[in-house]
């Protein structure tokens, strides 16, 4: 059963009822529909640009990963700007340039206007791109940008004047593989951010034949009776990389990153096809652990030993496989406390004819796959998921779930596989009892959009307190889903670190309202191939005050505020002690 429904007719009825009940005289504006109510404003916002992501026929595996992007306030003017990654094709290996859009604020219609400033910003990478990861790696107060590519990656230092400079080679983070996602984390708690990069397949066009061009002595690659591109199974996995940030010892403005994957214990027992990575404090001990979603083989949980070294414990933690112990095709990772027990849970998107997996954190580094008891397992069985996030989309205090859907094989359309190449995205309401159900209103007209979607980037674009979403689509313009539903109470928190890293990445923020404790972690990485603003976002229902707001900084310092007024973004500076 698909949980997403089109609200159009419902909204129309709602509007008609509102009109017929209005008193004579000037018509009162119709009340907004129930949240969430998503409307696509990408074209009006100036984002009607195709993100090239490979050949339309998907003859090679490289045509399938899609392209991501990042929200970042690169000019520090307080509103979110947008970086969109561009891929390429076999015939055009130097693709269109990646794009930076400056947010110039809302026009007369209230829709924000994005202006292409790529050239003036010194950007425009033409490598076959996949994702982007933003962080203030040098703690100078502005966001820098890492771009993952097939081939050389980029590290763009923000020059604080609206321009960027690629320092990836000098900094030692360029790589030469096929990178998908990246996460910035202060693994060793030294106050600067280290970098974990997932790498997928050691790919070249010369190395693997195209779909339908297998040698005569080789079996064709077939999925449910449809001939498809081969992989990733039987292709050579690429190894993930971890780069430790050793600061700027020469004072020349170029940081030194040391490739420390093995030294840090971040090498899996078996090679893997890395797709997504997220930092989280899985065991609640105050340091960042790392969870890696791999395609077709087991996922990984690297548990931080407190000093930046890690031990891989995914299997004993119950996070390597599905409930049945089967390897899945991990794509994206959501992190959040969906059951409000104070511990970070995980959700992982997977291939079609398998289910997305919800892992409940039961404490003591033990997770339980509750995909089917929650309802997610059945609802997601025939969809292929990518970006996924726990987000409180109706601001009721419970984190809901949004999932990007899109298949990798265009050839399945018209075939009886139970799946289609372009699919509507998934939207699940957290019922507060461990189950994920459909929103009564369906989520608005934009939930009917059927694309082969990939990357999910939430943001409060209009500052109204509810979450809007950018969704990238394969070889199509992105969707910019503005949430026009009723806005309940909310609070957003931004941190400014001093001893900790500048954005407080890795901090734990707890909002207490009556008996309810809402826990968030400050992160930049999105679920797959993207980056978001580092905010703790709380839906508060009808509460206009947060009784107590606590921050545990990566440095171990703590902040506490009481009686915090709601419906605003607050900034908390790290205390001196």
């Amino acid at each position: 059963m698909r949980l997403n429904r089109v609200l159009g007719p419902v909204a129309l009825v709602f509007a008609v009822v509102a009109c017929t009940q209005a008193p004579p005289g000037p018509a009162a504006p119709a009340p907004p529909p129930p949240a969430p109510y998503f409307v696509d404003i990408a074209t009006a916002a100036g984002l009607d640009v195709v993100q090239l992501a490979g050949g339309e026929d998907a003859d090679y595996i490289i045509d399938s990963l899609g392209t991501g992007g990042a929200w970042l306030d690169y000019d520090n003017d307080g509103d979110p700007d947008l970086y969109l990654v561009q891929g390429a094709t076999r015939d055009m290996p130097e693709g269109p340039p990646d794009l930076l859009f400056r947010n110039d604020g809302p026009g007369d219609d209230g829709v924000p206007r994005f202006v292409d400033v790529t050239s003036s910003a010194g950007l425009g990478d033409r490598n076959w791109g996949v994702g982007a990861a933003v962080a203030d790696y040098d703690n100078d107060g502005d966001p820098d940008l890492y771009v993952t590519n097939w081939g050389a990656n980029r590290l763009y230092r923000n020059n604080a004047d609206g321009t960027f400079t690629d320092i990836a080679a000098d900094a030692g983070v360029r790589g030469s593989s096929w990178s998908a996602s990246a996460a910035w984390t202060d693994a060793d708690l030294d106050g600067d951010l280290d970098l974990y990069v997932t790498n997928y397949v050691e790919f070249s066009f010369d190395r693997y034949p195209a779909r339908g061009e297998q040698p005569a002595n080789a079996e064709p690659c077939v999925w449910r009776g449809v001939e498809i591109f081969c992989g990733p199974r039987n292709l050579e996995p690429a190894s993930d990389r971890f780069y430790r940030n050793d600061g700027d010892p020469d004072g020349d403005g170029v940081p030194r990153f040391v490739e420390a994957t093995e030294e840090a214990g971040l090498v899996p027992l078996e090679p893997a096809y890395g797709m997504a990575v997220r930092a989280l404090d899985a065991d609640g001990d105050g340091d960042d652990d790392l969870y890696v979603a791999n395609d077709s083989v087991q996922n990984l949980l690297f548990v931080n030993q407190g000093d930046g070294s890690f031990i891989e414990e995914s299997i004993l933690a119950g996070l390597a496989y599905s409930e049945r112990g089967t390897e899945q095709a991990g794509m994206g990772i959501a992190v959040g406390d969906y059951d409000r027990n104070g511990l970070m849970d995980l959700a992982v998107t997977n291939f079609s004819h398998d289910h997305d997996t919800l892992y409940r954190n039961d404490g003591d580094l033990l997770f339980t796959d509750v995909s089917f008891p929650s309802g997610l397992g059945t609802a997601s069985y025939f969809t292929l998921g990518w970006g996924i996030e726990f987000l409180d989309l109706d601001l009721d205090g419970w984190q809901d779930l949004f999932v990007c859907h899109g298949h990798v094989y265009p050839q399945i359309d018209g075939r009886d596989t139970g799946a289609t190449f372009r699919e509507a995205n998934g939207l699940y309401r957290n019922a507060g009892d461990g189950t994920l159900v459909a929103f009564d209103g369906g989520g608005g007209p934009a939930m009917a959009i059927a694309e082969s979607s990939r990357v999910l980037l939430p943001v409060d674009l209009d500052g109204d307190g509810d979450l809007d979403l950018l969704v990238t689509n394969l070889n199509a313009p992105p969707s910019l889903l503005r949430n026009d539903g009723t806005v309940a109470s909310w609070l957003s928190v931004r941190l400014r670190g001093s001893r900790s890293n500048a954005d407080g990445i890795g901090a734990r923020v707890v909002a207490t309202i009556g008996e309810s404790r809402l826990v968030r972690e400050i992160r930049r990485e999105a679920s797959y191939a993207g980056s978001v603003l580092p905010r703790a976002h709380f839906g508060l229902g009808d509460a206009e005050t947060v009784d107590r707001l606590e921050v545990r900084w990566p440095s171990g310092r703590t902040s506490e505020m009481t009686r915090v007024a709601a419906r605003r973004l607050i900034v908390i500076d790290e205390p001196d002690q």
């Binding site: 449910r224 009776g225 199974r233 027992l269 078996e270 087991q298 299997i315 004993l316 119950g318 496989y321 409930e323 049945r324 112990g325 089967t326 390897e327 033990l366 089917f372 008891p373 309802g375 397992g377 059945t378 069985y381 025939f382 075939r415 009886d416 139970g418």
Partner: protein, 240 residues
């Protein structure tokens, strides 16, 4: 006897001989897993004898294996219509529906199969599987337990009972009854030490019970088995 009658009888006789040959050709194609050829042969067979239940049933088998879901549903449905006691046609029709996501309809056909043969172990297994998929765990457990209580009539049914044991154990696991889950998996592994998923559940049941060393041992065996046999296990059992 008129000339035209002679010709008709003659044609029927030829058709009768042809029918057996066609069916044999279809059976051979099924054995060779040439499902397109099998579907073509049984298609010819039912054109010759539209009331031949077994030909319709085997046409359903061939079409299903050949990825022709709608056509397989038609064929199984015709077999079921022609023979109100054909439990296997109903079970397999449920499988086709299940594979394409029509779970509720699939469940209905399993129930129809069980209404004909209440001790039909394969249908009990499928019914439990679908109910478990829907998280209707209590009803699923009832189906699996009934499957386990039934006396198997063949090696295939004995094998299916082990699958019922496995899924009954998984439901104990979901109910957080880790002792019972471990006991079910231990019993299963006595019969089939190579059951990868049972090995995993056993390891995780031990983990939940705090038996860390035992858990590590079982989970390491599972990991090695997984590595050795990258899995692609079908979920349904077609009952020819």
């Amino acid at each position: 006897m008129t000339a035209s009658t002679v010709m008709l009888v003659s044609a029927l006789a030829i058709a009768a001989g042809g029918f057996d040959e066609i069916v044999e050709r279809g059976r051979a194609a099924l054995r060779d897993r040439d499902y397109a050829a099998a579907a073509a042969a049984f298609g010819e067979a039912v054109a010759l004898r539209p009331d031949e239940v077994d030909a319709w049933f085997r046409l359903g088998l061939a079409r299903s294996a050949n990825g022709e879901a709608d056509a397989a549903i038609d064929a199984y449905g015709r077999a079921a219509e022609l023979d109100p006691t054909h439990a296997r046609a109903r079970n397999n029709l449920g499988n086709v529906l299940f594979r394409r996501g029509d779970y509720e309809q699939a469940l209905g056909w399993y129930d129809r199969a069980l209404a004909i043969e209440p001790d039909y172990i394969v249908a009990l297994y499928h019914r439990g599987w679908v109910l478990r998929h829907f998280n209707r765990n209590e009803a699923a457990e009832t189906a699996f337990n009934r499957c386990l209580e039934t006396t198997p009539q063949s090696g295939r049914e004995e094998s299916t009972q082990l699958d019922c044991l496995f899924f009954a154990g998984t439901l104990r696991f979901r109910a957080e009854d880790y002792g019972a889950a471990a006991a079910a998996m231990e019993r299963l592994l006595e019969s089939n030490a190579g059951h990868i998923e049972a090995r995993y559940y056993l390891g995780m049941a031990y983990r939940h019970q705090g038996r860390i060393a035992d858990a590590r041992e079982q989970l390491e065996i599972h990991r090695r088995m997984t590595r050795a046999v990258r899995r692609d296990q079908p979920i349904e059992k077609v009952d020819p």
